[in-house]
């Protein structure tokens, strides 16, 4: 009997040991968590399917090929009411990308200027930048977008009294109208020439690096860059017969026709997104520069580097590694915040999705599609920025 008792005591000790085992507990917790998630998902999916069936709503993405039947005012690909929902959504995506890209570029430029101004020794400049940052970043973006939209529609004149801010460039409550060059096959080649010119500038830059490495003197290459970037397309234009036909906007009774145009909504989106995000970028740039210790600047000074060289060769390369990750977040924010276009009638993907689901009733598919699109765009941007961040990372050990 004594043997059996000790054996069962041994067994019970084993069960208690297992229950207190760290690995066992970790696995148990994960099993319970996964089970709960699966259960919740199953409940949601089956519930949705039951409800859809009860209301006789068909599921699937077939609606994408159906005729959309609505017009899109800002378009960068050809699309009309006769096109499918799929095409309309694609145009919406392009609109999202256009407004995001323009705002990213402008907000980065403006934000960097404001950020550096905040560090200025000039009292007025520094305080102005501070006031701008604190004022603009603490007002909700939605309000700012509506504000800019209201400002433009309320203050800008009717199309027939449109302000001519530059020759042939008109500003009215319908937006901005500007002349475009008349279509001509030469223009395609000119654009290609510009691309070649930019690639040429990269080669000139590398050539300048080589000359500097060999002789110590860096050739004055700024005129060469300009010659390459401007000269090549101009040359192509001249060779192509120098077409000068202009398609200028014409002042009608109620609207401006012809030329290119940017709608009030797009204008308000760009202005709003740029101002709002530039305040965050300003803070990121300021903190990035301040994160580089003053000793670095002193070491550069002591070696005789000029102030500009210290900034370009010592401070900025180090500030950049602090700036890039939060900058990525701001670029992602611009892309996602562009969905607020729905509030002021800029037809980006959220707005078009909204119209689509109203007309088709395919709420789940439409929303899911939009989420997938935003996720893809954001992840792509993220990947690009992470790749760049990796390139400039510091080697520590």
């Amino acid at each position: 009997m004594a043997g059996k008792t000790s054996q069962s005591e041994g067994a019970s000790r084993t069960v208690s040991d297992v229950l207190h085992n760290e690995t066992f507990r970790a696995i148990l917790a994960q099993v319970i968590l996964v089970g709960a998630v699966v259960l919740a998902a199953w409940y949601l999916v089956s519930n949705t399917l039951d409800n859809l069936a009860a209301r006789q709503i068909s599921t699937g993405f077939g609606y994408l090929t159906k005729n959309a039947g609505f017009e899109i005012s800002d378009k960068f690909i050809s699309v009309s009411a006769a096109n499918s929902y799929g095409r309309a959504l694609l145009a919406g995506l392009v609109n999202t990308l256009v407004v995001s890209l323009i705002s990213i570029v402008l907000a980065s430029l403006f934000g960097t200027i404001v950020g550096i101004s905040r560090l200025s020794k000039n009292w007025l400049v520094a305080k102005l930048a501070l006031t701008y940052v604190e004022g603009v970043r603490n007002i909700p973006l939605l309000l700012q977008l509506i504000f800019w939209w209201k400002v433009i529609t309320a203050i800008a004149p009717q199309p027939r009294d449109a302000l001519q801010i530059l020759p042939e460039v008109f500003f009215s409550n319908r937006g901005l109208n500007f002349p475009l060059m008349s279509p001509d096959p030469v223009w395609g080649w000119v654009w290609l020439g510009l691309l070649v010119g930019i690639i040429g500038a990269v080669f000139i830059w590398r050539w300048a690096n080589k000359v500097q490495a060999r002789t110590g003197k860096r050739p004055g290459s700024i005129p060469l860059y300009l010659a390459s970037i401007i000269g090549v397309p101009v040359l192509v234009w001249l060779v192509g017969g120098a077409p000068t036909g202009v398609d200028a906007p014409v002042l009608g009774r109620f609207s401006l026709t012809g030329g290119g145009s940017v709608s009030t909504a797009l204008l308000a989106m760009i202005v709003g997104l740029t101002f709002y995000t530039s305040t965050f970028i300003a803070e990121i740039v300021r903190s990035g520069i301040q994160a580089v210790s003053h000793g670095q600047t002193e070491a550069g000074d002591a070696l005789g580097l000029s102030r500009r060289q210290v900034l370009r060769l010592v401070v900025l390369p180090q500030a950049l590694r602090v700036i890039i990750p939060p900058m990525t977040s701001q670029y992602l924010n611009i892309t996602k915040n562009s969905s607020l276009g729905v509030a002021i009638g800029y037809q980006e993907i959220a707005s078009i999705t909204n119209t689509t689901l109203n007309q088709t009733g395919q709420a789940i598919e439409a929303i899911a599609l939009m989420m997938v699109v935003y996720l893809s765009v954001s992840l792509t941007l993220s990947l690009l920025m992470n790749w760049y961040n990796h390139q400039i990372k510091l080697v520590e050990r």
Partner: protein, 247 residues
């Protein structure tokens, strides 16, 4: 280039304030070419501030500073000319972490002296070899020890061929076992005839290489003497108290 009998560094009635605080009071100091001077004193006595004025990392408000015959004013040309003559080594090394050891040494020769890369690299390797760290040339500063970093910082300064070297407590941020390797490098420089101004509390170094030791307290030079006299027979009671505390 100035005549050989002009002092390497000449400070006349130098005064400096941080706001209300009077950091430097009537400093007068003349450093001969090739002379080695050790500056010591309690913290806050203005010794770092004084040598930082010599290459204009700090501005002075009264008096004059003349380096190799060039007077330091707010004329940027003069500031550049002085900085080209004067090298500096910092307490916290201040190496550029985004550049390799070699690139740290070639940056200024390439961009300031417009030296061809190959020549700058050869010169850098020569000095890195002199401070016995040539085998680490392609590592980043974060990958080498503190003592090695400080020796790189010395090599980086030497690459600009300075005629005067300033050292601002070069060993006080180092682990004890690394102090010697840096001091050895400095002794080597001293033996080659470099003009040196060195803020340090390494009294062994002072005894070994200094021509003069300067004791500063509360922004003024309290005592200056040859190292033998300075340590064995300090004149001022303040010097005596200080020496008792650190020796």
């Amino acid at each position: 280039m100035a005549e050989d009998n002009t002092p390497a560094v000449l400070l006349k009635n130098l005064n400096k304030w941080y706001g209300e605080f009077h950091v430097l009071r009537n400093i007068n100091l003349s450093v001969k070419r090739g002379e080695k001077i050790v500056v010591c004193g309690p913290s806050g006595s203005g010794k770092s501030t004084m040598i930082r004025c010599i290459n204009r990392l700090e501005e002075h408000q009264e008096g004059s500073i003349t380096v190799d015959g060039i007077e330091l004013t707010d004329n940027l040309k003069n500031i550049d000319a002085v900085r080209a003559e004067v090298g500096m080594v910092f307490q916290h090394f201040n190496l550029f972490p985004h550049l390799t050891v070699l690139e740290n040494c070639t940056l200024a020769p390439i961009w300031v002296k417009k030296m061809p890369r190959k020549e700058a690299e050869e010169k850098a390797m020569y000095f890195l070899d002199r401070v016995r760290i040539a085998n680490q040339a392609h590592k980043y500063p974060g990958q080498v020890s503190g003592g090695q970093q400080q020796r790189v910082a010395i090599a980086r300064s030497l690459c600009m061929s300075p005629r005067i070297m300033l050292f601002d407590e070069p060993t006080s941020a180092l682990d004890p076992e690394m102090v010697k390797e840096v001091l050895d490098t400095m002794v080597m420089l001293a033996k080659e005839g470099m003009t040196m101004l060195c803020v340090t509390h390494e009294m062994g170094f002072a005894k070994a290489v200094a021509d003069r030791v300067i004791f500063m307290d509360k922004g003024e030079i309290v005592e200056e003497n040859e190292p033998e006299e300075f340590f064995s027979n300090p004149q001022s009671p303040r010097t005596r108290t200080f020496l008792e505390q650190i020796l």
